[in-house]
Symmetry: D2
Subunit: 354 residues, 4 copies
């Protein structure tokens, strides 16, 4: 088993290595009749793209996505949708020197432990380049959810290293700064922090929040297919994730029950500590997820590690890397939210019929 697929009825299978000839995915199970174009997908890919600002990796992929199947005369046919991007800016020579070294915090050691062989160039299969395909496929899910149910999905940077930016001041700002911060006034602080960080050669983590509005009550399944369990798996499957919260998350630990329980009146729920999910099933409130990303492991600052022969070596990671992978994670988190919700929409229709 090697499980490069996500979802049950809407099933995404991704393939490709960071420095292979191409990457791609197959999205199977999409209903017929949805209008979708390569242009719409490219727009979302641009949001995630490297080279978008000085704060992210300078690898410049054009990400010219092609739709190779499943769309005919501009609309989905119900057959599998194949998306395809050639890798054009892969500089594999950057990696030759670490072919047999285990970069700390990376999957080099564990891939070797598992497979005994790996494509070391740019992390191969473990590279965040794979997430391009999540965003590409997520674009389709997102559009379908919007058309069928009016669902809106919005992610934002809630914390960058020590700087918390949870509070949403203005949604419209999110896409107007390279951090996806909903707080315009804090952007200069973020920029200064990142400039200093880049200079230092170190990295930090980030927290990305995401909500979905207008999710109908009733999606999700009671026990092992809980909507929140699937969202947790979705987010934890993104590279560098170390934690996931639904609604109040870890704050619920110290809350008294009288505070946590969301009172329901004729005007609707009076709070949303549950994060839109009760008993694994959506309640009609906003579905709210928070995801923790660890700091980038690829650092210029050298450190000791082992090589494949068990010898100690000094590792310095060259190449072009984001000092904070979480900055570009917002569109990826949104995509995983969209794919999970659409999968559950189809699963719900299957059993309930509406």
């Amino acid at each position: 088993m090697s499980d490069n697929s996500f979802g049950r009825l809407l099933r995404l299978t991704t393939w490709g290595e960071s420095h292979g000839p191409a990457i791609g995915c197959v999205l199977d199970g999409c209903p017929p009749g949805l209008a979708i174009s390569e242009e719409e997908i490219r727009e979302q890919l641009l949001r995630r793209a490297t080279g978008r600002s000085r704060h992210t990796s300078q690898r410049r992929e054009k990400d010219e996505v092609r739709i190779l199947s499943g769309v005919f005369e501009g609309q989905t046919t119900g057959t599998p949708i194949s998306l395809f991007i050639e890798n054009t800016d892969a500089r594999s020579r950057d990696y030759q020197n670490i072919a047999r070294q285990y970069r700390p915090g990376h999957a080099d050691f564990t891939y070797d432990a598992k497979y005994g062989v790996r494509d070391y160039r740019g992390g191969g299969r473990s590279s965040a380049r794979e997430t391009t395909m999540r965003v590409a496929a997520g674009t389709i899910a997102r559009k379908w959810l919007a058309q069928q149910y009016g669902i809106e999905i919005q992610g934002w940077l809630a914390q960058l290293g020590p700087i918390r930016t949870d509070e949403v001041k203005d949604w419209s700002v999110v896409d107007e700064n390279p951090f996806f911060s909903p707080h315009a006034a804090i952007v200069p602080e973020l920029e200064a922090f990142m400039d200093a960080l880049r200079k230092s050669g170190d990295s930090v983590g980030a927290r990305v929040n995401c909500l979905a509005r207008n999710v109908p009550a009733g999606w999700g399944e009671p026990v092992y297919g809980k909507l929140d369990a699937d969202l947790a798996a979705a987010m934890m499957s993104i590279n560098a994730t170390k934690g996931v919260e639904i609604g109040a998350g870890f704050d619920a630990v110290a809350q008294p029950g009288t505070e946590h329980r969301d009172i329901l009146t004729r005007e609707g729920f009076q709070s949303n500590h549950a994060g839109g999910v009760l008993g694994g099933i959506s309640s009609g409130q906003d579905v709210v997820v928070s995801t923790a990303f660890k700091p980038t492991s690829s650092l210029r600052i050298p450190c000791t590690s082992l090589d494949a022969d068990g010898k100690e070596v000094e590792v310095v990671t060259k190449g072009r890397h984001d000092p904070c992978v979480g900055i570009r994670a917002t569109p990826i988190v949104e995509a995983m939210m969209a794919l999970t919700l659409m999968d559950h929409a189809l699963r719900h229709r299957g059993q309930i019929g509406t």
Copy 2:
């Protein structure tokens, strides 16, 4: 789809309602030749049992588990293992008055929104009674992992409401107090807190940590079948869970990369911020998971809610409830850890062959 199954190669399917005639499960995929007895399962069930102390629900189930298939002359045969417990202490009359009310924080509203019909007695399918079967099946997984790989799984209460008990003072204490606290000196404080809480009629949440020792490097799958993604889904599928962390978890957000990356030397890893998983694959370090449980929603303290006709009603939850569901969660978390690891052990063997 109604997805009452967990796992790919080791597949647990549970069934049963809180106040139905019985609950049970089918554990499919267990290798043949494992010695297992009803007595061993009962021992684990006792750890989770209600009525164990004055701090948990006074419902007294004997949980006389029976093995109905898959075990012959004391050992597993490789065919599905059916476990079965009659419900003997179900007092359904406690629930008649809330048959059409939506208890806040419970799944009553969302089940009705989804299915249009529900067994309201004791929460029916959404009751934590289902977790009995996780513990029962988990006993088998746990024994197999111990025998095959020497794996040890240990959970503990890391926080109860505002009281943090993260620090492990003495593993041997964990099973000697009703809280699964690894810190004997703190137990009186926990008792006093719970006594006051019970008197107040309110409830709190809890955080339960769990680690697995001796997990071989190489288990897990790179992208969507990541070991940590499956652990996140496993924990989030437990009733009342609101958050999951692997290793440093949300603390990783503010960590610099130079601190977070776990240096690997000839003596092994020098820290374990990763929580034993790199790139979705086990590294050979302890696998460490932390899970947040929300406060119990069933409270004597009345509050407003709606009934099935959309009328506002005052809800008071009688019945016998734990003021902190997290107290009994430790054996459940351990069981989900065991089931997830064993599933991945089999998946790894399937692809890699060893």
Copy 3:
């Protein structure tokens, strides 16, 4: 993996050995709101029951099925339905002498080769007793299909050893003779044949046909989830099956295309060589499947075989066995047709939404 489950959205998991304390199943994914009673299931079990005539095994199971979950106040709730039957007439002593012998034509040898251990009593897990649960669960699927779509499922004995009875003379006769023959005049011939066979100690095979009327056009999936591929797997999963045909089946090999293609006019299709499936998707015509059952392998007539030590032994199978397992297969084939169709109904609704 041990894969004791069938179906994707409607998922049947069976458990139990022939001579264990009980057998049972979990049917997961059934929509809520379907009225179903133990009585309705028992009726179908009676059709399959042993001891129904002198032509089938004299083991007399009462098959007192119990519904243990998933049904509340007489109707399904959408949660997993647990069905349960105690084994009451299991005479295990009949099997002690063959505990270590490999009965020819049976799964004794292959189970040992795979698992190294097996419950030999009555064939254990490989016994046709497992099919009881297919019929039990199939009753639910059948009722749902009838209510939702007016679908009727009808099986019949099309061949018994050398005697072909394909031609359907009168549907109403099928349930009025112990052979499920649609041809009253042939029944005495079948009886005489079976009497002679029983006397001889030998056995024969059978062919069972089955059709489903009123299946809407559009069910099934194009490539690997073809309706006919799933039906083939469904039928081939029944004990003793050796072949499956859809529509014209093997006769299609010698047909010219001009004969095989079913002409479509305003009055509908003019023939049904396709058996109701085109490109894996139902066409709205009757779905027609034919299934071949091998002769019973349990014979009084001795023969040579090996035991677990590799020594040659003479095997005589005592116990109470059907000289033609195919006779009782008709309700089982119908059940598998119902389960497969209902699964596809839900899958279709999931993707297409109607």
Copy 4:
């Protein structure tokens, strides 16, 4: 759900339409360390290729398969293998006239009934062009089975229309005639028959047999994951299949049990009516499958049908079509045998560990 995937641990997902820009597949779960080249895959594709003789379609695809991922420095890495072929000889104009017509025997009507939209060019997704990817992926499975277990897979044409060629005279002949006949003397008769058929404008069906040697005893799963059930689904999922037999198949119906049961002595089994599978598990004998293919539905001979508006039309199928699709089916049947066996090899290893 749209289920374009096959297998559990070795999972093939195919995508692409007959006249789209490309077709491809993702093979997930292949163990690492298998040497494989594009050249080896092309060799198998040539066996299936159109334009191979005057008896098959004159569409000439070069089928220049590319490996885009999962293979590094000539060997598999354990990550998903993406295979890719551009469609170069797609003459879509041939199909414009039937864009809204339902060709009899084709999936046009059922796709429209299901999806309401379809890529009509060359049958779109329902085209046998999809089987290219089965053969491509099957090459990998075949090589792995040969290396790991010495398994040999051999298919052959057993019947062409009325001409039976079951008897295998000489295995070496199979690949030396365009029919995959194991009977050199019969080839002129087959050629004459096909020449006459082509002249007539009509078509016929075919029966293709396939066996696998050296399959270890113990593969397969007892109930719903039976090896023969999965083989039946595998074969029935190939375009134009109408029937599947294991071992004696439908002949078992008339066999007495004393003839059918394969006696086991110290010299091994004395016959193979079971076709190498007992109780769903391989016995160590040759696994033998027979598959029926219907006659090609695309005929020059006109006939009545309906169009999308329900009006009667005369349909004549132009384009380049095989008068007997079964002729080219042999490599496809072999590929499905290989994929099914390898999947079961991995599943067996997962549960049993060897």
